[in-house]
């Protein structure tokens, strides 16, 4: 019965729209795309990304060459247990000596395990946007399912230099699979609900460490 009522609603709404657009309905306007889409090669994307992340009170560590594992280890100094997604490069963990909680499609970690005190999560990312200080996760290898980077109170994210775009259009165009869940993260969880002042730390991870590599 619900099905019949719903399909009636569908037809009636579509009919109403067609009637509203009949006669003096708007013509399809050309969309002027005069805004910036490409990255300016003169911009130091890594420096800009660092500046924007710090502005949002994320902690940023820069490293290169063989320094990655050490930078990850330093970010995890206070971590009791570390949640890791499938597909994370094993060498990223060589300087971390605490407990490791591996999330797996067949044996996913429980929410209670992720919510426990002292749990951090370590991931990579798909793309980053320098101009807005944004990291994009698309669930690809080394990023994991969404709950993994949401429930723990501390997120450590590794961004490779070649993953950084300057502008929003250039970054979105690099997302390969748009059918997977996509999360854009710009700094730690925050609210502006009390007197319109930004406060970091509500429901998402209250600490965000970004490691810029390369």
């Amino acid at each position: 019965m619900v099905g019949r009522a719903v399909s009636t609603a569908r037809d009636e709404i579509l009919d109403r729209i067609r009637a509203a657009l009949a006669g003096d309905g708007p013509a399809r306007p050309p969309v002027p795309r005069g805004y910036r889409t490409a990255d300016d090669p003169g911009t130091d994307a890594l420096a800009l990304l660092e500046d924007r992340l710090v502005d949002y009170r994320a902690t940023v560590r820069r490293c290169a060459g063989t320094g990655l594992a050490g930078a990850i280890g330093a970010a995890l100094a206070a971590t009791r247990a570390l949640a890791v997604p499938p597909g994370l490069p094993a060498e990223w963990l060589s300087a971390y000596h605490g407990e490791i909680l591996r999330d797996d499609r067949d044996a996913p970690l429980t929410l209670a395990a992720l919510d426990a005190a002292g749990v951090s999560v370590l991931t990579g990312c798909a793309v980053a946007i320098a101009m807005t200080g944004t990291i994009i996760l698309d669930g690809g290898p080394g990023q994991g399912r969404r709950a993994l980077t949401l429930v723990p109170d501390h997120h450590v994210c590794v961004v490779r230099a070649d993953q950084v775009s300057v502008t929003v259009p250039a970054a979105l165009a690099r997302l390969a699979d748009r059918s997977r869940p996509i999360t854009l993260i710009s700094g730690p969880s925050a609210t502006s609900d009390i007197e319109l002042n930004r406060i970091e730390g509500v429901h998402g991870p209250r600490r965000l460490d970004v490691i810029l590599f390369g």
Partner: protein
């Protein structure tokens, strides 16, 4: 057919505004908050050198959506269904609420967690769910404050803008059950921490989440929710069932079009370069997030607005609330005076269009403006709000006395001799008044029915000499 729900003002705007203006604490809170966000917005908009190009693109993309709305809706439905979502349609608020209540009942849950959503506020979903025995828990900090205070939101983006930190602490101590909050301070960080603890268990145990959507992508069937706190991610990710209530105008044609709106929206609304969290999902994804995904497409008066060729531009609105923060009227009266979940300049054109101007006191809303135009300048999708306000004033229902007066004026002013004679008569009639008002040249209080005019402004007296008289005599 017109819309219904929490978009019908029950009190004429001037009456409601007078009451709100009497609350000096409210005016102080509003002034401080709107000025803070106004300045932040200006700072981050000024660092984008292609801002005007983005506004032009945003407006054109939304106009394109309206021109092709039936095709894009069907495309969205087809693609989202193929991705595992179930698409429902609702003609008005009552039908949308019934669809959602049925879906929740079908899961056996008697509690749902909610992401802040204007569409669900518009249709009055929380009340409808309560009548069906289902408790809806608002998880956005400001919505939680308003819900705990048994109040209604007063701003699109920051619904608790009318409370300051001390008032919020008092609400938490009085109404947030369970924890011992006697030592709670009014530090914003402490208040946010209290909200985190209060909601954590609810998120982890929730079986049903309810959201709106900022954008719906026709090309890919993707829904987008833009937020700050992470409560949205919790509601969109952890429950088994997700129900999203989406106005039919929320579409964008392609995924790439998000590149425009993800720049326009955060800078216009919270004055940030990017909001902390944006979630995008397409149907059901195995092993990640809800296993049942429902999308309820809602008309509720949008097709009435679409039929009005001047007014339909209001359907471009992306609910950023920049127009509220720059409006001299909103800044003084706050959101409650508008009697609708859509306050401020956008509410003054959207509410009467969705419901029809005859609904409640909604015909008074287009007059809640000085027509200063600050809202048009701030609007990221270039809605010419002053134009639509004037259009609605002209097309709206008028009192019989005003219609008769305007007809008489029109007759007098159509003929030069009649007009000159009327001016002479007015000058003679005004002579004693000129003495009484001395040099001010204006009357402060006229007798009824003209008192309706002088209740909020002076009535100028006719000049001693008209331009034509001066010209003839020189």
């Amino acid at each position: 057919m017109t819309g219904s729900g929490h978009i019908i003002s029950t009190q004429a705007f001037p009456v409601a505004a007078r009451k709100e203006l009497g609350d000096t604490q409210l005016r102080a809170n509003l002034r401080s908050a709107t000025h803070t966000i106004r300045d932040k917005r200006l700072r981050v908009v000024s660092e984008v050198d292609d801002w005007e190009e983005l506004r032009l693109a945003g407006a054109a993309i939304k106009d394109d959506v309206l021109a092709r709305l039936p095709d894009l809706l069907v495309q969205f439905e087809t693609v989202a269904t193929a991705a595992g979502a179930v698409v429902h349609w609702a003609r008005d608020a009552a039908e949308a609420c019934a669809v959602v209540a049925d879906l929740v009942r079908g899961t056996g849950a008697d509690e749902v967690v909610k992401v802040k959503s204007m569409a669900t506020q518009e249709i009055g979903l929380n009340d409808a769910l309560a009548r069906a025995g289902i408790a809806a828990i608002e998880t956005d900090l400001a919505e939680l404050i308003v819900q705990l205070a048994d109040d209604t939101p007063s701003h699109i983006l920051v619904p608790a803008i009318h409370y300051n930190r001390t008032q919020i602490r008092d609400i938490f101590i009085r109404r947030m059950g369970g924890a011992d909050l006697s030592g709670l301070t009014d530090e914003p960080a402490a208040l946010a921490e209290a909200a985190r603890r209060h909601l954590r268990a609810k998120f982890l145990a929730a079986r049903v989440g309810i959201s709106g959507a900022n954008f719906a992508v026709a090309e890919t069937g993707t829904l987008v929710v833009v937020e700050s706190e992470g409560n949205g991610r919790m509601c969109l990710t952890l429950p088994e069932t997700l129900i999203s209530v989406v106005g039919i105008e929320k579409l964008v044609p392609t995924f790439a079009d998000l590149e425009v709106f993800l720049q326009l929206l955060p800078r216009s609304s919270t004055g940030e370069r990017m909001n902390p969290y944006t979630s995008m999902w397409t149907g059901v994804t195995a092993g990640d997030g809800p296993r049942q995904v429902h999308i309820v497409l809602v008309d509720n008066g949008r097709t009435s607005s679409l039929a009005d060729k001047v007014g339909r531009q209001a359907l471009r609105c992306i609910r950023c609330s920049a127009c509220l923060n720059v409006c001299p009227v909103y800044e003084r009266v706050g959101g409650h005076a508008y009697g609708s979940v859509y306050p401020g300049p956008i509410g003054a054109i959207l509410s009467p269009q969705l419901t029809g101007q005859d609904a409640g006191a909604n015909r008074t809303l287009p007059f809640a403006s000085t027509l200063c135009g600050a809202c048009y300048d701030a609007c990221p999708v270039r809605i010419n709000i002053p134009d639509v306000l004037v259009h609605l004033r002209q097309s709206g229902p008028k009192p019989a006395a005003e219609r008769a007066g305007m007809r008489a004026m029109s007759w007098v002013m159509r003929d030069r001799r009649r007009y000159a004679a009327a001016l002479r008569a007015a000058r003679r009639g005004a002579a004693p008044l000129r003495l009484a008002t001395r040099r001010r040249g204006a009357v402060r209080h006229l007798p009824w029915p003209l008192s309706a005019w002088t209740s909020s402004r002076d009535a100028p007296l006719p000049p001693r000499q008209t331009f034509r008289e001066w010209w003839a005599a020189r």
